[in-house]
């Protein structure tokens, strides 16, 4: 018997909901149902951060905090969590992030400010060191059009020098603990919102319903509601499902639950594949990385999904769970533009990433803007070079075709060749003919083609210790 309502904490108040539309976003809920208008709508697509709030979740008796874009977060996904809004962080006096922001003149028109304050609060509560790299990373999802960010960066640098009011979190912990994490179905106006805590019950319900929508980060799905104004009938929220949220390292393979947030994977990748991790640090924004998942990236199968070329280059596999369980090499998963071998009623359960200890992995992302941008071209290269001979190589590109695609001819040419300029030049000629990319607002066909060639040159340069990257 499933529960038919959700419980969560709005700041420190426990709230139960069952009567609101299943497509309600957290932002609209705050603004319309509570008149908490400090949280702003800037874009309704998760790109500007004006709507940023922080979500607290119980992890081993402590609350772990993450920033989210409330405009693309569905209200019912908050079950069992605490939602912290800008109105709440001030206790007896202003919170350090607020006072520091004022003293550094970090606000001008003030419209982006509440969102930035919440991104700063996220940093502060997680005790993130205010290094230049971290500041850029944690602000990557917040646009400000007035200040040019300098005073905001200063505010972050200085925020730890302010003392905060001490207050006990025991009440919040107690309230969070009181919420049972059991399977939940909300039914409203013929639509359903499912929250499952294990794989079996999820599969059981998912099999029964045709056209169910799987939800983790919502970067694609929520836009169907906020931009295309569709009514999504059946949403299956995977973000709380224990059987889909894990990372295990066994037998030289990383096993990653499909709904595991990117930000949980990042620290592990930093040790195994630093270049992969570095790319992920430019994947979406901090808010996006806090909720988005590999399963979402693979499931939506966008030709410009940045993790896909890397996963393919690493010969990753996915475990698909439907009536039966099957394992598939990711190479064979994509069929055509956003079409894959995933059948209705099947879900991606796990991603298996082999760990190559002797290989070089390169992840080249080219985009108009460095942070929070979709790549115009992405190239992942997984190679093993011995005595300057290319013993093993896989080159996978994003943004050059309707799916992520392997540069088969170029990599075939390079295999067992000497890793030198002559051979790379030949491979450049080959890769040019291998793709027929499109012109769009991100880049022209010519540019994409030229970049695919030049990134091979970058690969050689880097091997020869020639400085070749800015980012």
């Amino acid at each position: 018997m499933s529960r038919a309502h959700i419980d969560f904490l709005l700041n420190e108040e426990k709230i139960s909901i069952k009567d609101l539309d299943t497509n309600t976003t957290v932002l609209n809920y705050l603004r319309h149902n509570h008149e908490l208008t400090g949280t702003k709508e800037g874009c309704a697509s998760g790109d500007c951060g004006a709507c940023t709030a922080v979500v607290g979740e119980l992890k081993e008796n402590k609350i772990s905090y993450r920033s989210i874009n409330t405009c693309i977060t569905f209200l019912y996904s908050l079950h069992g969590k605490q939602l912290i809004t800008v109105e709440h962080i001030q206790k007896n006096k202003l919170h350090p992030v607020q006072q520091s922001m004022i003293d550094s003149d970090g606000s001008q028109c003030g419209f982006c400010t509440p969102g930035i304050i919440m991104s700063m609060y996220n940093m502060y509560e997680n005790k993130i060191k205010p290094t230049e790299e971290n500041i850029d990373k944690f602000l990557s999802g917040n646009l400000c059009r007035c200040t040019g960010y300098l005073p905001i960066k200063n505010a972050i640098k200085n925020m730890y020098s302010y003392k905060s009011d001490k207050f006990s979190k025991s009440k919040v912990i107690r309230l969070l603990k009181s919420i049972k994490r059991t399977d939940t179905v909300i039914k409203k106006n013929g639509s359903k919102f499912f929250i499952h805590y294990n794989l079996n019950s999820l599969i059981k319900d998912y099999q029964k319903i045709s056209n169910g929508h799987l939800l983790v980060g919502g970067t694609d799905l929520a836009l169907e509601v906020t931009k295309k104004r569709k009514d999504l009938k059946n949403i299956f929220y995977l973000g709380s499902n224990k059987d889909l949220n894990y990372i295990k390292n066994k037998n030289n393979n990383l096993h990653i639950g499909s709904a595991t947030p990117i930000n949980d994977i990042l620290p592990i990748l930093e040790n195994i594949y630093p270049t992969f991790a570095k790319m992920f640090a430019r994947y979406g924004s901090e808010q996006i990385r806090n909720t988005a998942s590999l399963g979402g990236n693979i499931g939506s199968a966008s030709p410009i999904g940045d993790s896909l070329p890397v996963l393919i280059a690493l010969n990753s596999k996915i475990i698909i769970q439907g009536k039966v369980k099957k394992t598939l090499l990711l190479d064979n998963y994509f069929l055509s533009y956003r079409k894959t071998k995933l059948k209705p009623n099947e879900i991606i359960k796990e991603i298996i990433i082999p760990i190559y200890k002797k290989n070089i992995l390169k992840c080249y992302k080219i985009s108009k803007r460095i942070d929070d941008d979709i790549s115009s071209v992405f190239m992942a290269i997984n190679a093993r070079i011995e005595k300057n001979i290319i013993k093993e190589i896989k080159i996978v590109c994003g943004g050059l075709a309707e799916t992520p695609k392997i540069a088969e001819k170029a990599q075939k040419y390079l295999l067992n060749k000497i890793f030198n300029e002559e051979n790379i030049n030949e491979a450049k000629k080959i890769i040019k003919k291998e793709f027929d990319p499109i012109d769009d607002m991100r880049a022209s066909k010519n540019y994409r083609t030229k970049i695919s060639q030049n990134l091979l040159e970058r690969f050689l340069n880097e091997n020869n210790k020639i400085k070749s990257t800015l980012y």
Binding site: E35, T37, T39, K40, E41, G42, C43, A44, S45, D47, C48, V86, E87, L94, V97, Q98, M101, I102, D103, D105, C109, G110, F111, C112, P114, L139, S140, N142, L143, C144, R145, C146, T147, G148, Y149, L150, K153, R229, I366, K368, R369, I370, D371, D372, D373, M441, R442, A443, Y447, K450, I451, L455, E457, R458, N461, I466, K467, S468, T469, L470
Partner: protein
């Protein structure tokens, strides 16, 4: 007027900003029965509507009504100055995003859902989209303008060298974080209260009056603050306020229109992109003797403010340089795109972009240090001090700022280091540039240079301050409250900052042209002086004194006595002394011949300079700003904290215009960059940590402007031209000294790669 302000306080709303308590239009408590409007617009750029089927729209859940051209009692136009900006079209589609109808429904979401259900039968025809097409077809929104000085033939004859070429600067979306929004609430007697996110409440009032066919006195517009404007809410906000007012009148209900971000970017105008075709003659030392220039901008479908914007581009083609012989042909192109509009700098950035590129190209051709060529061409004090539009420059400080910055930024040493770096690096190449800014302050449309204020003192001595300016983040309210507190000698906290309100100060100009503090500040001083002269008369009479009277530290001093301001006011009240006054100000000295463009369009100039160092990747065109050094003149600052914010923010907004922000149109006139996922304004990562801003220490306004300060809103935007020129330098360095003439703006990675040989 010339007093010094010492209190560098924070933005008046800073605490409210950081706590989420600052109220923007969408945050105002919604009235009962509020309805929501959403606009249905064209999805092609040129065509004729054959049939519209609203059946599914009307039967959609929550829909109350549809508003079209038929519901407009007055004029179907929201154009400022010139007509041409239709509210709704019923027949001809002239641009992508042109409003056709508005749905009125119970919620914003239901209204949008319904609007998407319209069925429009169209006959599509071929649009004019690019500047080149418009030039070829002589498609203009306004007549071309021509300006000349000296003898261009003679100038070329005397030149040792010649260069010609084309330049292009791209458009720019304002991307104010608070999108367009308006709410109209019916009052008794068919009056309407309008909340609008606008830079121009008075014109909002006038336009609604004309649209509803009512007297202006029946429309009341209130604006407390707006979430960014940058010119994008100078005229573009009128459409939305007009629609909520039409609907509110028709349905006798309050109506709100909050525009979705994508719809906003599609339906509102942007910065004009410009095409330049130049021929320049110069001496062997780089001194410019003649410039022949064709400039053409994409104005979109209507004049809007394009006339004044293109005029200002002409007025800034010289930047800080004396050009003895010049001939300019300026074309204002009509295209089937949304009407382009005001944007910080208002044509000035485009003009300066042109001349700075020309100078860089001269430097690359002569292989001479660009900063030296810039200096050689600077306006001088006694000679070479008159602009091409006949205005004598009497406040020139550019040389001093420029020299100081070269020294402070270690420009020469860094240039040498860059050469060294470039020799050692095959793929990554650095570049550096220093560029000046000279920007003219005043509206070039002379009559707009007027402002008003209304000041009340209540019997407890507290002050209520009102004026015509809009707070859009620039810190206007903070500065003006400081002005009032200084004039009364009262603590800043005693000054109540209030919403800008058409019932308090009438017939105001837009908060634009950087002149808002100058104009409204002077009007406030005038109002306060009116009150003070009454108070002074009262003191002479009541206290039997004829001594000088001083207002300081919350006291009033005369003879050897002092009484508190509060006591003075309560006594004055009991003696029936007026404690309220309006104030008015108009800028003197300015005049322009609108045909020849000759005259004195500006009261004064502001100056500044920036050094930017960049690095590019030869293989991908990716680039990064490494360091920025700025010295900028704000006169004698009223509030340095606020001025510094304008300088930093202006630079980064200009950097976006010139690097990552690309407005992209398909050849059929459809805009493809209409959301932050495809249109990329700078993030924190684009802002270099090495960013040194110094306010010019000898800043002083020769004109009698409040506190002898200078306007600061727009000028710093143009400091960012140094970033583009530095990228050009890097490309030139990567091209082994061959030129980088063909780099166009924005210098995206793709455009940089294209310009590499």
């Amino acid at each position: 007027m010339d007093k010094i302000f010492t209190k560098n306080i924070e933005h008046e709303s800073a605490v409210k900003h950081v706590t989420g308590k600052a109220i923007y239009t969408d945050d105002i408590s919604e009235p009962k029965n509020l309805l929501h409007a959403v606009i249905g617009y064209s999805n092609c750029s040129k065509g004729v509507i054959k049939k519209i089927d609203y059946k599914d729209v009307l039967s959609s859940e929550g829909v109350v009504d549809i508003i079209t051209e038929k519901d407009i009692e007055g004029i179907n136009d929201v154009g400022p100055i010139f007509k041409g900006d239709k509210i709704f079209t019923s027949k001809n589609i002239e641009y992508y995003g042109q409003p056709i109808f508005a749905v009125i429904a119970k919620t914003n979401n239901l209204a949008k859902k319904a609007a998407l259900k319209v069925k429009i039968d169209l006959k599509i025809s071929k649009p004019i989209v690019s500047i080149e097409e418009a030039l070829k077809k002589k498609s203009f929104v306004l007549k071309p303008k021509y300006l000349t000085r000296g003898n261009i033939k003679d100038g070329f004859k005397r030149s040792d060298n010649f260069l010609k070429g084309k330049l292009y600067s791209g458009g720019q979306d304002h991307f104010y974080l608070e999108g367009q929004i308006a709410m109209t609430i019916p009052q008794e007697d068919n009056n309407f209260l309008v909340y609008s996110s606008t830079q121009h409440p008075s014109e909002t009032q006038q336009i609604i009056g004309k649209v509803l066919k009512q007297n202006y006195n029946s429309i009341h517009v209130i604006v407390r603050r707006i979430g960014g404007g940058f010119g994008g809410k100078e005229t573009q906000s009128f459409l939305f306020a007009a629609i909520t007012s039409i609907a509110a009148k028709k349905l006798s209900k309050p109506v709100k229109l909050r525009v979705d971000r994508d719809d906003d970017m599609i339906m509102t105008g942007k910065r004009h992109d410009f095409l330049f075709d130049y021929e320049v003659g110069f001496n062997n030392n780089g001194e410019i003797l003649a410039l022949k220039l064709m400039m053409a901008s994409r104005c979109g479908i209507s004049p809007d403010l394009s006339g004044a914007i293109n005029d200002r581009a002409i007025y800034h083609i010289d930047n800080a340089y004396y050009i003895p012989n010049i001939e300019i042909n300026s074309y204002r192109c009509k295209t089937n795109t949304v009407s382009n509009t005001a944007f910080r700098g208002f044509g000035g950035p485009q003009g300066m972009f042109c001349i700075e590129n020309i100078i860089e190209n001269i430097s690359q051709k002569l292989k001479l240090e660009a900063s030296e060529i810039r200096k050689i061409n600077f306006y001088k004090d006694k000679i070479k001090n008159t602009t091409h539009y006949g205005m004598r420059i009497t406040d020139n400080v550019i040389e001093d700022i420029f020299n100081k910055l070269i020294k402070k930024s270690n420009y020469k040493k860094r240039k040498a280091e860059i050469n060294n770096f470039n020799k050692k690096n095959k793929v990554l190449k650095k570049g550096i540039a220093i560029t000046p800014v000279k920007f003219g302050i005043s509206f070039t449309t002379t009559h707009l240079n007027q402002g008003g204020a209304l000041v009340h003192i209540y019997t407890d001595g507290s002050i209520h301050l009102n004026h015509g300016g809009i707070e859009m983040g620039q810190g206007l309210m903070t500065k003006l409250a400081l002005v009032a507190s200084n004039e009364f000698g009262l603590n800043y906290e005693n000054i109540k900052i209030s919403s800008t309100d058409t019932e308090k100060v009438p017939n105001t100009s837009a908060s634009a042209a950087s002149a808002t503090t100058d104009i409204n500040g002077a009007a406030i001083v005038n109002a306060i002086n009116n009150i003070k002269s009454g108070l002074n008369e009262f003191i002479y009479d009541y206290f039997k004194t004829n001594s000088k009277i001083k207002y300081e530290n919350n006291y009033v001093y005369f003879d050897k006595r002092k009484i508190s301001f509060k006591e003075l006011i309560s006594t004055a009240y009991l003696n029936r002394i007026p404690l309220s006054s309006s104030g008015f100000y108009k800028t003197d000295k300015i005049n322009v011949n609108t045909k020849t463009l000759q005259g004195r369009p500006f009261l004064y100039f502001t100056y500044g300079a920036a050094v930017t160092e960049v690095i590019i990747d030869k293989l991908t065109g990716e680039n990064k700003i490494l360091q920025v050094d700025i010295i900028h003149d704000v006169g004698n600052s009223i509030n340095k904290r606020i001025d510094k914010g304008q300088i930093e923010g202006g630079y980064i907004q200009g950097l976006g215009w010139l690097t990552t922000e690309e407005v992209s149109w398909k050849s059929n006139g459809v805009l493809t960059t209409h959301s932050p996922s495809t249109y990329k304004i700078p993030t924190a990562g684009e802002t270099p940590f090495k960013f040194n801003v110094e306010i010019y220490d000898r800043g002083f306004n020769k004109e009698k402007v409040i506190n002898r300060s200078k306007a600061v809103g727009e000028p710093p935007f143009m400091l960012a031209i140094s970033s583009f020129i530095a990228l050009k330098d890097a490309v030139c360095n990567a091209n082994k000294g061959k030129n980088s003439k063909n780099l166009i703006a924005p210098a995206t990675a793709e455009n940089i790669l294209k310009s590499l040989h």
